[in-house]
Symmetry: C2
Subunit: 621 residues, 2 copies
């Protein structure tokens, strides 16, 4: 194996890197243009100012249904002495939009005329000149400037008689996915994907992103880790009609990351590494005076690099301003540490609770692609800040409309891996930063659930406790139960490695309660100190062989085709403050969980019981 490694050039800050990029490719370069049909022009950028070829209206047009008259002929008409007009001679029926007949300059509304017979009618008031008439050119005068250069076309061109439009060519990107481990998803059969292989999907996501900011793209076929082949593809692209080249993957300092060498062999590397997270390994280079990017392999990193460098560059080529996202002041639900010297882009879920907007941080791993689709906003933590305190007010850039965020129910509870002590859900209720909390807290004194905890922690808040579900907790073991585990009492065996849940979780309380009942010492259990934060993580630990057994819910075991040994059925309730209980969103939620359809679907998951689902368990005022 080759263990020579690339070394990052001195890293640049985001600001420095953008300045280098924008100086290399200034926006005042004239970008080529082409003509397209007006109806295909929506979203395109005008290469030249467009002037109207046809006035609108291009004749004097009636603005009402009625009769067209020459106003001066009607002077003198009044209620006492109505004026009689002759149809086809000095009065002409017109509909809205019709051209005024010659020698007329006003329209009297149909409601204001008295028809006598087919040929005559009476009016009781005069018309004034140009009444109810849309004059020629009222909206658009031929030769008038319709849109300036660089305007983004949004319609209405056709009405000005513009059928063909000079627009800027779409900046054309070549996307080159690289990596020997990659498999083209279009040829892939899920069952045949081997460990170590990965689906190549990023190029398709990037194609859509490039189109959405006005560019076009060609996707190169996947190139394995073969520097000469990558080099040939970049050389060809830089010497044809491509405007941008993206080498996907191969930008970090790993031994098989060729992007830097490819670019420096063919042209110049200007930036290698930027002090942002995610997005750090991005490379900015040029070959034949064209921008060539080495994009990070992780999807979240590459998206940040795209938004900070590639998208602004496309906008500059089109002479467009990259519109800022709407910002809102939000409060993070927990303390967030951040590295000094690095600007972090932290994706968050947002929700409005009372008059605060609370932000729940999503996992920060550059590989966590689900954070891309789950995020409502991004908090940027600057280089010189070490982190944010809980409920410290900061700006978040919105990724979704405000109305969506307003309609989000903020729920915290034992499913949420950001919670690490037992009553965090109840604490969030106390602080007024959520609409409801999920809770399955066992009172080990009397075997009841939740109520004693609510009384203790939320003495001054009116609460409605609603049952969501009863669920089976049990031991999750590999298929076939190779170690023949029967119950909690087996956890102390020497040949068994256990995987635990974190201290304070409902499942942990349950385990410790049972161990105490069975008089088993926790330290006698191998792996007791290995903590996971979700049921699914426990199941994954068992599936991957990291542990022989864990305690969790049936659904997690079923999802991974593992065996399940029931231990106890526990009560899972929703803790809802009275003030939110009556809100529209919570009402819809409660109506939904009360439907037969919902209960049927939950039962179908297995290990859940819905006899009391939706029932108000307790009213605590």
């Amino acid at each position: 194996m080759n263990n020579s490694r690339n070394i990052y050039l001195k890293m640049k800050t985001l600001k420095e890197a953008r300045e280098i990029l924008f100086d290399l490719f200034p926006s005042d370069k004239v970008f080529p243009s082409e003509f397209v049909s007006a109806s295909d022009s929506v979203g395109r950028v005008l290469a030249e100012a467009v002037t109207a070829k046809l006035s609108s209206p291009h004749f004097h047009a009636s603005a009402m249904d009625g009769i067209a008259v020459k106003a001066e002929n009607t002077f003198g008409a009044n209620e006492l002495s109505p004026m009689e007009l002759t149809v086809g001679e000095n009065a002409f029926f017109v509909n809205t939009g019709n051209m005024l007949p010659e020698n007329t300059n006003a329209v009297i509304m149909v409601e204001h005329i008295n028809v006598i017979d087919e040929n005559s009618l009476k009016i009781e008031a005069p018309a004034y000149p140009w009444q109810n008439v849309r004059k020629m050119g009222e909206d658009i005068v031929a030769t008038e400037l319709l849109f300036p250069q660089n305007h983004v076309i949004m319609g209405a061109l056709l009405s000005g008689g513009i059928f063909s439009v000079p627009v800027k060519k779409k900046p054309k990107a070549l996307i080159i996915p690289t990596g020997s481990e990659l498999v083209d998803w279009r040829n892939a059969v899920i069952e045949d994907i081997k460990p170590g292989q990965a689906l190549e999907t990023n190029s398709f996501v990037f194609g859509k992103l490039i189109e959405s900011c006005g560019g076009s793209f060609i996707r190169h076929e996947i190139i394995k880790d073969d520097m000469e082949k990558i080099k040939a593809a970049v050389y060809d692209a830089a010497n044809s009609d491509f405007d941008i080249v993206l080498i996907m993957g191969g930008s970090s300092a790993g031994s098989e990351d060729y992007a830097k060498s490819v670019i420096s062999d063919l042209g110049e590397v200007h930036v290698h590494g930027v002090t942002i997270m995610p997005g750090k390994p991005v490379i900015i280079g040029s070959v034949n005076n064209k921008p060539v990017f080495g994009m990070p392999g992780y999807q979240v990193s590459s998206i940040v690099a795209f938004e900070q460098f590639v998208r602004p560059l496309i906008y500059r080529m089109l002479d467009q301003v990259d519109n800022e996202r709407t910002k809102l002041q939000v409060e993070p639900t927990r303390k967030i540490a951040s590295k000094l010297g690095v600007e972090e882009f932290l994706r968050v879920k947002l929700g409005v609770v009372g008059d605060r907007i609370v932000a729940t941080p999503l996992p920060r791993g550059a590989g966590c692609i689900t954070t891309l689709t789950r995020a409502d906003g991004i908090i940027r933590i600057p280089n010189h800040i070490e982190g944010l305190n809980t409920y410290e007010k900061v700006d978040a850039e919105l990724l979704r409309p405000v109305s969506y965020i307003k309609n989000t129910i903020v729920a915290v509870g034992s499913h949420d891996n950001s919670l690490d002590t037992l009553a965090d859900g109840l604490m969030a209720i106390k602080k007024g930063v959520c609409h409801l909390a999920g809770s399955h807290l066992l009172d080990t004194e009397d075997g009841s659930y939740n109520i004693s905890y609510i009384k203790k922690y939320l003495p001054n808040i009116s609460i409605r406790l609603v049952n969501l579900v009863f669920r089976d907790q049990g031991l999750i073991v590999p298929p076939g139960n190779p170690k023949k585990i029967q119950g909690i009492e087996d956890l102390g065996r020497d040949d068994i490695v256990f995987v635990n849940r974190q201290a304070g979780s409902g499942t942990r309380i349950l385990l410790d309660y049972r161990l105490q009942q069975l008089d088993i010492e926790p330290r006698a259990i191998r792996g007791y100190e290995n903590e996971e934060y979700t049921h699914m993580s426990v199941a994954v630990a068992v599936l991957s062989g990291a542990a022989d057994v864990g305690l969790g819910i049936y659904a997690a075991a079923k999802a991974l085709n593992l065996n399940f040994i029931p231990v106890v059925t526990e009560q899972y309730d929703l803790v809802i403050p009275k003030e939110h209980f009556e809100s529209k969103n919570i009402r819809i939620l409660l109506e939904t969980i009360n439907t037969a359809k919902f209960k049927k679907r939950v039962e179908a998951l297995g290990g859940y019981h819905t006899e009391r689902t939706g029932e108000i368990i307790a009213v605590l005022d």
Copy 2:
């Protein structure tokens, strides 16, 4: 001519009409679904919940470049007694994303190892289990819910191994343009378009609108005013796979407006006329249980009807929430009267001046299509309000991003037809509701421009007066000057009809000054009382024969191929308060007008002189 007229059914309020529509076509009807490729699924709506087929990662993967080890084997390594490892035996080089070799569970970063030779290396610290490892399923666990039903797909499906997706069928609309006056723009030659004919463009705009909210469309060819043909087209559509039918035009009460009869013959008319402006004549009906709309012929009306009825219906078919637009509190720059009993949708230009957002109303005509592309926002004036006062705070729904509005320079001046007294531009400066005002106010005492007015009206504001241009004002006459007009002195002739500008405009001041010098009585001029508000309107009046002559700028005459007799060259300046003079937007503006390119283009328009363009004429502190 047929003068039998449709009569509006009792009109409905917007709320009533929407309730009728949504009751007829409830959102809980299950809409058909189809399977599409994941890469074509962006923007589509999931017909079913989607669960992951493949975990991500689907193996334990290295999160760093380095060596993979079994953590337990490294315990005990420290600086004083480094541990030696053998490559290929108990240490394995891995790059980010690589699968961990069997029997390893941690990665030590490449920066933390000391390579001895090809086969051996040393570490000075132990690894802990799972350090620098992305565990299988860390981001997505196979079988895990990726997205719920009705979710709009935004990417990331592929990474979960989802290649084909069940999505809701796109609601399919038939758009039927109707009207004997219509010409298909694709077959049209501008020069051949006759007075009375109109380009049919609305169906193309509507197609784009339908696509943008998730539907698909077919455009029917234009049908002339022939009720049987329209009826046949609607019947066929309602009995095939269309979900919505739009009859474009033919919805008002004119004699050739057939939509109502067509719908009532084939099915039922539920709403005919809604108390909104624009949009009043919309018809909501059903044929074969499918929604059939009679859309107003005017484009602005039809867009409002689309946004209030058709778009929400498409969203309901797709089980989507029609996202509210962002709202901002704005202040109208002038008093706006509005009809009681009608809900008005007023399109406005917006700009941020200091800490206020000022809203300049655009023309309200339902035929003014340019207002669609020029508007930044919409102010809704409810049924029970008679109008808005100047600077009364109201909400505006935004049509553009806030950043766009922040970058808008608010300029008022003599080009703006909302101004009707001489110093309105200066008054707007005084009130702090614009960034600059254009001004060409002649001091008839000494022949100077602007300065004396600024001193009088803005005594307490620091002003920078910058010359924009000098321009020729003159008499605009028909081609060939048939009445042989030589100058202002001819305006008193009996055979000449004049068209005037509004009292208080710079051009009017100029005219009155000249008339006084020439000792001509205003009332001796035929048409002196006919006032237009823009140079272009004056030119149109001359072109259309409504007047023989008007006073205006050369560019207006040239635009319509009219003749021009120069009268005077006047000074047109920009009045800029000092506080805005130093802002970025104004700086860019001033840099632009100082470029040779700008001056050349202005000169090319004719009638403009740029010798002093960009020069600071006066500093008034």
